[in-house]
């Protein structure tokens, strides 16, 4: 297996997730790192947000991460040979008010990466745009929509549930234009 230093973001994430799964800790990648992976690093995030699905205690995570050489620094876990930071935001795995029901799996040489789907990734970014007006997150949503196959009807339905249908209609064209 590759050394941690040589691992790409996705490979490192798969490695950490596989190790945690062996310890009974289930996490799913969300946030900016999912955008990085789905856009082949057009957007770069060095944070790996691994959503702690079933609220495993910090002590259990700390022990498991120590076994693969990660050190806790505040909320983050660092490895001396890696530039990526790992964080475990609390579950449940949700986009807005709805639970995430389907998770994508990507096989890497270092293990299986479990990550929110491209459609949920777009919704996740749009949630930050809708609720906080975060323009960077809108750009990230558009990048994912351009590079990946997404379900625009589902995003519309979800936006309506979030009470943001008007905002969705405003940006819809940006999500569906320039699709590859």
């Amino acid at each position: 297996m590759k050394s941690i230093q040589e691992m790409t973001q996705a490979e490192l994430c798969a490695f950490v997730q596989s190790h945690l799964r062996e310890k009974g800790i289930n996490v799913v990648l969300s946030g900016g790192a999912a955008v990085s992976i789905y856009t082949a690093n057009k957007y770069v995030s060095h944070d790996l947000d691994l959503i702690n699905l079933y609220s495993v205690s910090r002590r259990v995570i700390l022990d498991a991460m120590k076994q693969i050489g990660f050190i806790a620094e505040g909320r983050y876990y660092k490895h001396p040979a890696s530039r990526f930071l790992v964080e475990f935001p609390p579950g449940p795995l949700a986009i807005g008010a709805e639970p995430v029901k389907q998770v994508s799996e990507i096989t890497c040489s270092t293990g299986i990466l479990r990550v929110i789907s491209p459609t949920d990734c777009v919704k996740d970014r749009l949630a930050a745009y809708y609720h906080w007006g975060d323009q960077q997150c809108l750009v990230q949503a558009i990048l994912v929509a351009q590079d990946q196959s997404i379900d625009i009807q589902e995003i519309q339905r979800w936006s309506e549930v979030e009470g943001k249908l008007a905002e969705f209609e405003h940006i819809r064209v940006k999500l569906v234009s320039d699709r590859r």
């Binding site: 609390p90 807005g96 008010a97 709805e98 609720h131 906080w132």
Partner: protein
């Protein structure tokens, strides 16, 4: 305190009810309002932020907390808090909802 058996602490209820009533709050004003220890309120605010229930931003030297609009149980939590607040004595409800947020000119006499 109405929800202490569920939330596990009086400070948890104080923080959430205060933010429900005023939309936002900071540790000193919440502690002062409930005449309680500041560090207990600060710890509780931090716990809720780590748990994704609240988010914070700084305004000058003050850290202001609001509900996290992305918290998946926010609507249900607010309903519960609204109901709890309706059981508070009327005077306490009015005091909680009394909220001076408009600017006050520096040096203005009372």
């Amino acid at each position: 305190m109405m929800l202490q058996p569920i939330l596990g602490s009086a400070n948890a209820e104080r923080v959430l009810v205060f933010i429900l009533a005023r939309d936002e709050g900071y540790a000193t004003e919440i502690a002062r309002f409930f005449e309680t220890d500041l560090s207990g309120i600060q710890n509780q605010l931090e716990k809720f932020e780590v748990g994704g229930v609240l988010v914070s931003r700084t305004a000058g030297r003050t850290r202001l907390y609001t509900f996290n609009p992305r918290y998946p149980f926010l609507m249900e939590l607010k309903s519960l808090l609204e109901k709890a607040l309706s059981f508070y004595p009327e005077e306490a409800q009015e005091k909680l909802r009394l909220n001076r947020r408009r600017p006050r000119r520096r040096g203005k006499p009372l």
